[in-house]
């Protein structure tokens, strides 16, 4: 698998999602960058024998941190960047495989795939939560320093 190919396609796909979600024109490149960073983390970890759930967790954390930084710099809501960034991590392929096995009456495989897809969705959520918590801790410590 060519890593350059992955970098370019993830950038274009995330920026494309910025357009679908009507993000402001000037933020499209940043949407693309956010998605690209997340996907690079995910793909390198998944290629190096890490578990997909853990790779998704790390990638969604990176997406959330990147979008928080962008939102601080450009004084815009954070969701503009994070929404486009997490789309590539959504376990669409796994959910599809689960659905196909359900249809083919292979319930054992289907349920295990569905459970895995559910775990990955949970990992996306936890990655977002982690970054939010760290963000708030930093903000609070700043406030106490100022006082």
């Amino acid at each position: 698998m060519n890593i350059l190919e992955q970098i370019i396609t993830s950038f274009v796909a995330s920026a494309g999602f910025g357009i679908i979600f009507n993000a402001p024109k000037e933020s499209l490149i940043k949407c693309g960058l956010t998605g690209m960073f997340g996907w690079i983390v995910y793909i390198t970890m998944a290629n190096n024998e890490f578990d997909t759930v853990f790779a998704t967790l790390a990638a969604s954390f990176v997406v959330a941190v990147t979008s928080t930084i962008f939102s601080r710099i450009y004084k815009t809501p954070m969701i503009i960047f994070s929404v486009a960034g997490i789309i590539p991590l959504v376990p669409g392929g796994m959910a599809y495989d689960a659905m196909r096995n359900f249809v083919e009456n292979d319930y054992n495989t289907a349920v295990s795939l569905a459970a895995k897809a559910f775990m990955i969705s949970g990992a996306i959520a936890i990655g977002l939560v982690f970054s939010e918590v760290i963000n708030q801790v930093i903000r609070q410590s700043k406030l106490t320093v100022k006082k």
């Binding site: 698998m1 190919e5 992955q6 396609t9 993830s10 274009v12 796909a13 494309g16 999602f17 357009i19 679908i20 979600f21 009507n22 993000a23 402001p24 024109k25 933020s27 996907w39 793909i43 004084k75 815009t76 809501p77 969701i79 503009i80 994070s82 929404v83 486009a84 997490i86 789309i87 590539p88 959504v90 669409g92 392929g93 959910a95 599809y96 495989d97 659905m99 196909r100 359900f102 249809v103 083919e104 969705s121 996306i124 959520a125 977002l128 939560v129 939010e132």
Partner: protein, 253 residues
Amino acid sequence: MENKEAYTYYVMDICLLAGQIMLQSGAETYRVEDTMTRIASSYGIEKTHSYVTPTGIIFSAEESGSAKTKLVRISDRTTDLKKVTIVNDISRRISSGTVGVEEALLLLRDVDKSSIPFSAALQITAAAIASGCFLIMFDGNWHDFLPSMLAGGFGLFCLIFFHKLVPVKFFAEFLAALAIGSLSFFFVQTGLGEELDKIIIGSVMPLVPGLLITNAVRDLMAGHLVSGLSKGAEAFLTAFAIGSGIAVVLTLF
């Protein structure tokens, strides 16, 4: 006294309009509440309470005398992150004291009337390109790039078209997924595409409820349990609609 009452209602109108635009465009619940409270306090109304759910806003301002309460029903929600940004910006300017009461209402009315920044054709093109890119990201080969692009673009076109035709969102998503599945199957049958699975997965991605998932998580974390759960339910229903659309295709062929 009467003047003061009129002023309070005027400020409440501004707050509610700002909240309504943000909620309809897909902002998180806590941001909507935060914006409304900030605008009210910068116009001199300190004690306010707001209760925001995805389907309505209740806003109440306490003044000397009785409290005043207003309710706004939100019936349709779209995704327009640009409006969220603009309203956020206006609220920042109000907080810094550079925008007067009349000007604020005019600015917000302008935002409310403004149309979406990207045309449907551009969005469909973006969805098509994104679908092609997803195919490559999910390990597909370049041979399937064009079929995936066509199926993905056609999918979003169907979603927009059916959503205008039938107001039920989940049914439109179901039909769009059905269209994507059938078109991908057609491509593989005619030899234009090779791997049916990869093409379907790539072209279904533009329908994925990414904004809902993110907002549901953020709302739950901020303690807005009702909004978080209902957005989670909406995301789940969307995923279910897409899944059953694809399942129908897989069963038929």
